[in-house]
Amino acid sequence: MRKLTLGRRLFIGFNACLLTAITLLGIVPFIHLLAISLSSNTAAMAGEVKLWPIGFSTDAYQFLAEKVEFFRSLRVSVERVALGTLVNMFLVFITAYPLSKSNSQFKHRTLYVWFFAVTIFFGGGLIPTYIIVKATGLIDSIWSLILPGALSVWNVILMLNFFRTIPKELEEAATIDGAGHWKILTRIYLPVSLPSIATIGLFTIVGHWNAWFDGILYLNSPEKYPLQTYLSTLIMSMNAMLTSISTEQLEMLDNLSEKTLRNAQIFMGALPIMVVYPFLQKYFVKGMTVGSVKE
């Protein structure tokens, strides 16, 4: 290896420092969040807590363990993720399979593809969608969080692009052996598509876990809120109080609210994602580079 010039060495050092700073920017906010949730309420309120708990206390988490709203919404979230992922994936499979065929095998294929693709470019928007969801009787039911977005056209496109790479011979051989389309899909296409399925599945799970606005929009009863929607009400009510009063009152109010508890709940909302994050990242990068950097 050649000797590095002084300029090059300076750059390497500077680059490492800069990138380390940017890295910290991605991590430190969450350490701060955790530190607050593990501090005493007084220290948290006074703004003393930075990156390490002050007056270490697990009170917030003990309180959380008995908080009915939290666990109720957690259960809704789990239900939503399970049901939603099941419905979404099933629809992706059965829609992508016929669309991956050629025009001769599936009449009017191009027409169907356009029928779906148009919805990527144009939509009715918030208000008409709300009216339709209301008209189909889903308001205040968990299905309002699942059915309106049941078919993700992007995922169908990802899936059908993958299906098209599967060698035709596999299908032909199966047809000769007397297999129908259902058999070909479940016995051949799905088993060889596992990496793509993992990518899309993880997308879907994260999407359902993170979604909160549809809960605000379609659900009337707070008992039916999923976790992220419940968290959003905590944050928005805090935000609303922020503006209606003066600074002195703000400080008094801050003393009344349970800051550590709020931060503990927010942290718990992020925790599942952080736990699966390493897998997520790997599959996500794979899915992304397949989807976007292609010829």
Partner: protein
């Protein structure tokens, strides 16, 4: 096999599109689309004459344009810097940290951001340790808008960065060798090999981003804003939400929605056509 998907799309994607007729109606939820009275363009002239509408439109475009430009520049710089890192583990660690916020919801991030910029938060802590007056970041229109733009870039920059890094890795290594033989240093190699090598993907990303000119980030703003900063941060989507859902003015709200989707559709069609024409980009 295709029918369940078709049915769902018909109801929940084409249904609302047909429902856009309400933009031309004096819409009454009880009468529905079929019995509400048609009033032509009245809803449009009503909303365009609302005192706040101009400001809302301006906010939307300003926020969206700043985000669009930064979503190209910041990831590009990050990708170029990361490309110069020789230690694999360090590069991978940095990428992971930058990409993490992308996967978290705006509720979680909004909660963290509001806390960090609060009166007693760490940012004001740093300011006061430098002897400066604390700033009410979330209640100041100028600051709030910058925070909206900055934190969205913070959340999303990992995405484009990964795409650009992948493009850089795809550049033919012999080009670098040839440049080195010609006596080009690292800086010259970056300028004349790396940048031209990823120019197509950068252009593609910017072209595709144009369609989002009226998307300033609905969920983010909704969770973080408050009435004090409406002036600087109220955007079309939040305006439609309050007008339609809170004030129950369905017709006018749908009219703004149609105005927005119309402009987006025009831009997206043009940009996708351009991307297809010049880059052979196709989504299916």
């Amino acid at each position: 096999m295709v029918w369940p998907g078709v049915i769902f799309t018909l109801i929940y994607a084409y249904g609302p599109m047909a429902g856009l007729v309400m933009a031309f109606q004096e819409f009454e939820p009880l009468s529905g689309f079929f019995k509400s009275k048609f009033i032509g363009w009245d809803n449009f002239s009503y909303v365009f004459h609302l005192p706040d509408f101009g400001q809302v439109l301006w906010n939307t475009v300003v926020i969206a344009v700043f985000k669009m430009v930064l979503f190209l520049l910041v990831p590009l710089i990050l990708a170029l810097l990361l490309n110069e890192v020789t230690k694999k583990w360090f590069s991978r660690f940095v990428q992971s940290a930058i990409f993490l916020p992308f996967f978290l919801s705006w509720t979680v991030l909004g909660g963290v951001i509001i806390e960090i910029f609060s009166l007693k938060g760490p940012v004001n802590g740093v300011l006061s340790s430098m002897g400066l007056e604390p700033i009410m970041f979330m209640l100041n229109n100028g600051w709030f808008r910058s925070i909206i733009i900055g934190t969205d870039v913070w959340k999303g920059m990992g995405y484009n960065m990964i795409i650009m890094l992948a493009a850089i890795t795809g550049i033919n290594a012999t080009l670098y060798e040839a440049a080195e033989v010609d006596g080009a240093g690292r800086w010259k190699q970056m300028l004349h090999v790396t940048l031209p090598g990823i120019a197509p993907i950068v252009i593609l990303l910017s072209v595709l981003g144009l369609g989002g000119i009226l998307n300033a980030g609905f969920e983010q703003i909704l969770i973080m804003y408050n009435p004090t900063v409406y002036e600087g941060a109220d955007v079309i989507d939040t305006f439609v939400y309050r007008l339609g859902i809170f004030s129950q003015q369905f017709g006018p709200a749908a009219a703004i929605g149609l105005f927005k989707s119309g402009i987006s559709l025009a831009l997206v069609s043009v940009t996708y056509y351009a991307a297809y024409k010049y880059n052979n980009y196709r989504i299916f």
